[in-house]
Amino acid sequence: MPGVNRTLSVDLGGLVLGTPVLVASGCGGSGRETAGLVDPKKVGGVVSRTITVEARKGSPTPRVAETPSAIVWDTGLQNPGIDAFVSEELPALSRGGPPLFVSIGGRSLEEYVRLTSALQGHPEVVAIEVHLSEPDDELGRPLIGGHVDRMTEIVGACARMSLVPVFAKLPWAPTQLAELATAAMRAGAHGVVVVDAPPALAIDAQRLKPALGAATGRLAGPAVKPLTLAAVHEVARALPDVPLVAVGGVRSGLDAVEMLLAGAWALQVGTATLVDPAAPVRVAQGIARYLKGKNLASPADIRARLRLPAGAGTPEVQV
């Protein structure tokens, strides 16, 4: 395709990003910390850490432990609460930074409503990512977004109220992902983020106790890539027209390409950003190199292009 203008830009159903690579929630700081180490103009987008209605002190330390090719972490959603976030962090986060997604989390429908409402009228927020992995205080369930009823109710409320696109970050409920994604889309979500990190436990055997202050945490980093790919593949096959943002285990450009092939429209980089603040740019460049090598014009050209063997018992993805 000589002479064709290649692009890294992706169109998530109207929301256009310069590259398909975002910084995952909780891994981007306030945007100022790594100034000088990464050019914000080359980052596709950044998701804020999850913001709750009230300020949270977060979990006891240690909050991170290493396991083979992964980390187990739990920060307990430490954050200053929505009001302080809007007044103190939002201006700095968005100023000169990449497109900003704000992640919101709660334990009741009302909290999500209040959070969504507080974020309206802030043009620097391009989208809302709904974190749904907290316990459900109203219904007494361990995972607020793990059920179709609540997914519908909460995402529906956020979507109806929000002037910017709402993405549902699917909680780790592997047998129900397609069902939950469908519920979120029916309720008015603009897209889905696949998939929140799985619960994990790291143990310090010498001390007979969990490695984390909060006991259990969740798994992130390179090791989870094959799990994310399976989840993305499953949801993308069920909902091929839904903007799908992959998250979990992306470190390199090729990892990102794999996510796109499996059906992602864009993807997020978490742990890798903690190791290399320029990871989102490096990953995007890796995608560009790959596309160039295959003589393709844009990330959308490889989306869901995974070739399934005819004998694999699963029909080929329609693209």
Binding site: T7, L8, G18, K41, P222, S298, D301, P309
Partner: protein
């Protein structure tokens, strides 16, 4: 089958490959051409399985008695690590693994066909055939000069050698199959031994079938264990009684197979790959960043 913590006696660069010589008498003693080793990878890496390498040489007598040699091509993390191992380090190896090549009882004229580093296994075979007073001829090849394995050694071991390279930098330009008809004719080949990648082996198999030549091929099917525990490495092989086929483990029932019994199409169809055509006229929003 033995397990040894084997000292690396020496290492050597051979063209684009690396050769390692280990001290492992118990394994060397038992090794036959076509058999292989399973080498443990170091702790703390992000890859966990053993790597499998053909035995290139096993010395049972003389100054090198009790040593084993294998050859690696650095194509991935494991072989790259192996290529950097230094003399006097130790490797955890299990071997000899699998069934090696069978020697012909009556037939005499053996043609050995191999490409790239796969040839390593056949040099060991050539020696054993010579000990049994067979005639050995060879067709070896590679992409380029660098990946033709030990052409001088090939000359030493065989009556005649045809060298084929894809780019013509050594010997004739072309693939192994291009040389076969002429060589088989000229050397009056009675038995063919082959090693290489699956497409090449399939073509060799087809060639031998049309000519009614008995043959043995060494198949490199990706393995997990290498000693029969996991059924990762299967090859579909027709039953002798014609009642169908079995998925046999290449690591215990191979890696050497009779190509006439391998169901090449069953095995290789699954591996076929389709490239999508780049769609035309996509929306172009802006050019590469950075």
């Amino acid at each position: 089958m033995k397990r040894a913590r084997a000292e690396v006696l020496s290492t050597r660069k051979v063209g684009g490959f690396h050769s390692l010589t280990l001290v492992a008498p118990e394994i060397a003693e038992r090794a036959r051409p076509g058999q292989f080793l399973a080498v443990e990878m170091p702790d703390g890496r992000d890859f966990v399985l053993r790597r499998h390498v053909s035995i290139h040489q096993a010395s049972r007598r003389g100054g090198w008695a009790g040593t084993l040699e294998f050859v690696v091509e650095p194509t991935g993390p494991g072989t790259t690590w192996l290529s950097a191992v230094k003399a006097h380090e130790f490797l955890d190896v299990i071997g000899p693994l699998g069934k090696g090549f069978a020697y012909p009882k009556k037939l005499t004229n053996c043609l050995l066909v191999a490409e790239g580093r796969s040839a390593a296994a056949l040099y060991f075979l050539a020696q054993e055939l010579l000990l049994r007073h067979k005639r050995v001829d060879m067709v070896i090849g590679g992409e380029t000069l660098e990946t033709v394995f030990k052409p001088i050694e090939a000359k030493r071991l065989s009556q005649t050698v045809a060298v084929m390279t894809a780019d013509g930098t050594l010997g004739e330009r072309g693939g192994l199959l291009d040389a076969l008809p002429e060589v088989v004719e000229r050397t009056k080949t009675e038995v063919v031994y082959a090693a290489g990648d699956a497409p090449t082996l399939q073509r060799v198999a087809a060639f031998c079938r049309t000519r009614n030549l008995p043959a043995q091929v060494m198949i490199e099917e990706p393995m997990a264990c290498g000693f029969g525990l996991c059924y990762a490495c299967v090859v579909p092989v027709a039953r002798a009684d014609g009642s169908g086929y079995d998925n046999l483990r290449a690591c215990v029932d191979g890696p050497v197979f009779n190509p006439a019994r391998v169901l090449w199409d069953v095995w290789r169809t699954e591996a076929a790959t389709m490239m999508p055509t780049p769609p035309e006229g996509l929306p172009v929003v802006r050019t590469w960043p950075g």
